[in-house]
């Protein structure tokens, strides 16, 4: 029935490769959430954003646009990193690629995600005591849930990557 040539190591390796592929695609899919989050924030807080722009002195308007431009670029970089990490994880899972670049990026993304969760939680707390405007509890709470899920996907991606590397090395050592 079962393939008797398949060792326990190979079975585990197959399992973690499949995990890696799933986590990789999950990380890529969460880009959709990231983009939606930003768009929703801008739409919901559009008045707030305009008011913010208007608080800048006329001479400082270029500063405002520079800050906006920088934010957009930063956001685009994060999205690119996310797609790169996810696609690379999928490629490693399929055995088509080796390398650690995507792992470094995944760690950075995890840090960004944790910071996002912390800030969202803080915004809920602060808005509940009425010192910050323009923060919706529902949006922040939904954001926390989804960021937690993204965090879980990134942790699974990292864990599966390390397991794949370790099992692959063990397999190669066994072959020698």
């Amino acid at each position: 029935m079962f393939n008797t040539d398949q060792t326990e190591n190979e079975i585990k390796l197959l399992k973690y490769r499949k995990n890696l592929i799933t986590s990789g695609w999950a990380v890529v899919a969460f880009c959709v959430w990231d983009i939606a989050k930003v768009v929703m924030s801008l739409l919901l807080k559009s008045t707030y954003t305009l008011d913010l722009a208007n608080t800048y002195h006329t001479d400082d308007k270029p500063l405002f646009f520079f800050e906006v431009f920088f934010t957009v670029v930063l956001f685009a970089v994060i999205i690119y990193f996310q797609i790169y990490a996810g696609v690379s994880a999928v490629a490693v899972g399929k055995g088509k690629k080796k390398g650690v670049g995507y792992l470094v990026i995944s760690v950075l993304l995890l840090i960004v995600t944790v910071v996002s969760i912390v800030f969202s939680a803080a915004s809920i707390v602060v808005s509940s005591i009425g010192t910050m405007q323009g923060v919706s509890f529902d949006t922040a709470f939904a954001g926390i849930i989804l960021d937690l899920t993204l965090g879980a996907a990134l942790i699974d991606l990292l864990g599966s990557s390390f397991k794949v590397r370790r099992l692959s090395r063990a397999g190669e050592a066994g072959d020698k």
Partner: protein, 367 residues
């Protein structure tokens, strides 16, 4: 399995087991008829609806997949096409819900196979044919379950054909109505549906027709296998199925006194081993012509082409009290007995996946 094996190969096995041409024709007709006795057909001939032994694709599309609907589907498919191997199998760290489905996984040489053959003993030729269909399918359809279940019946991209020289090629399934392209290894399978009880996850739909092609060897990851590869050797399994049919029919004829699982006819079939292996291993979608030629060479008679119309008039024109003695009437009786037996066994194992068993429930009430 398909017509080539259920009809023509069963005929050949019946001849080798010692049945004459007419008896073998009745047996093989019944074996093939299991794949055609649908509720639509029964409505047409005004036969008992509960005697349905299969469901058309259109019937499945219309079938509800609520609890009662699933029980109805499971009763048919588990009884006739995916006979469970071990209704008391254990698997650690699983929920009861999962275990009940896991226990429906089909496999040859199980207790239910023994019970199926025993049920046909002393009964009609139609019962013998029905039993041969069920027995043969335990070999082809092993590792799949006759209930819609993603967690049991799903497959995925890790699916490779193994060629005689040992090389492997990944099989890519498509989801069209085009026929399978055997030469280029392009096969059709059901679409992935994430819903656990989707009809797409019934039986071996996710592996397409591969279990029904006698020539192919392949390896894949079954959903229940914990990332362990299954190697399916259809040529070997089909040969064992043939030999086991001969063994079973020799028992049904009374030539031997016992039918034992894990036992195969070692003489009569093996005399024709080269020819049978040649038929089984030929890379073709249907081996009907080759099996037919083999069967006719054994009996010296012509095997009539299968037609679902053959016995309809006899059944429909018979008076009500005599319908049971007609060809179809005997088949319906055998089908009801088989379905009742398997449903009882599944219910007795503690699973309601095939529904409640009336006979079993009465016994419990009387306890």
């Amino acid at each position: 399995m398909q017509e080539d094996f259920h009809y023509y190969a069963t005929y050949a096995a019946a001849i080798l087991a010692g049945y004459n041409h007419e008896e073998s024709a009745a047996i093989c007709y019944s074996a093939q008829f299991v794949d055609l006795c649908t509720r639509t057909f029964l409505t047409r001939v005004k036969g008992p609806q509960n005697a349905a032994t299969t469901q058309l694709q259109l019937e499945l599309m219309d079938a509800p997949t609520d609890a009662v609907g699933l029980q109805d589907i499971t009763r048919i498919w588990a009884s006739f096409h995916f006979l469970p191997y071990d209704l008391y199998a254990e698997k650690p760290h699983t929920s009861k819900r999962y275990l009940r489905k896991y226990r429906l996984i089909c496999g040859p040489n199980g207790k239910l196979t023994e019970d199926t053959v025993a049920l046909a003993k002393g009964s009609s030729l139609q019962a013998a044919g029905l039993a041969m269909h069920v027995l043969a399918d335990t070999w082809a359809h092993m590792y799949f379950a006759g209930t819609p279940s993603l967690v049991i019946n799903n497959t995925e991209a890790h699916f490779y054909e193994i060629f005689p020289d040992g090389s492997e090629k990944q099989i890519r399934f498509r989801h069209t109505t085009s026929p399978d392209d055997v030469e280029n290894g392009i096969y059709t399978a059901s679409i992935f549906q994430s819903s656990e009880n989707s009809i797409m996850n019934l039986g071996h739909g996710r592996a397409g027709h591969l279990p029904d092609y006698s020539y192919i060897r392949y390896k894949y990851l079954p959903a229940w296998g914990g990332y362990r590869e299954i190697i399916k050797d259809n040529p070997g399994d089909y040969y064992n199925a043939f030999r086991q049919m001969v063994h079973a029919m020799m028992y049904l004829r009374g030539e031997t006194t016992e039918f034992k699982t894990d036992h195969y006819d070692g003489t009569r079939a093996d005399e024709h081993s080269d020819r049978i292996h040649g038929i089984i291993e030929k890379r073709q979608i249907s081996a009907s012509e080759d099996w037919k030629a083999f069967g006719e060479s054994l009996s010296g008679r012509t095997i009539p082409d299968f037609s679902v119309e053959t016995y309809i008039d006899e059944y429909m024109n018979a008076p009500e009290e005599e319908k049971k003695e007609t060809f179809l009437g005997r088949f319906f009786t055998a089908a009801l007995a088989q379905k009742s037996m398997v449903t009882n066994r599944i219910y007795a194992s503690g699973s309601k996946l095939a529904g409640y068993s009336v006979a079993q429930k009465k016994e419990r009430v009387n306890e």
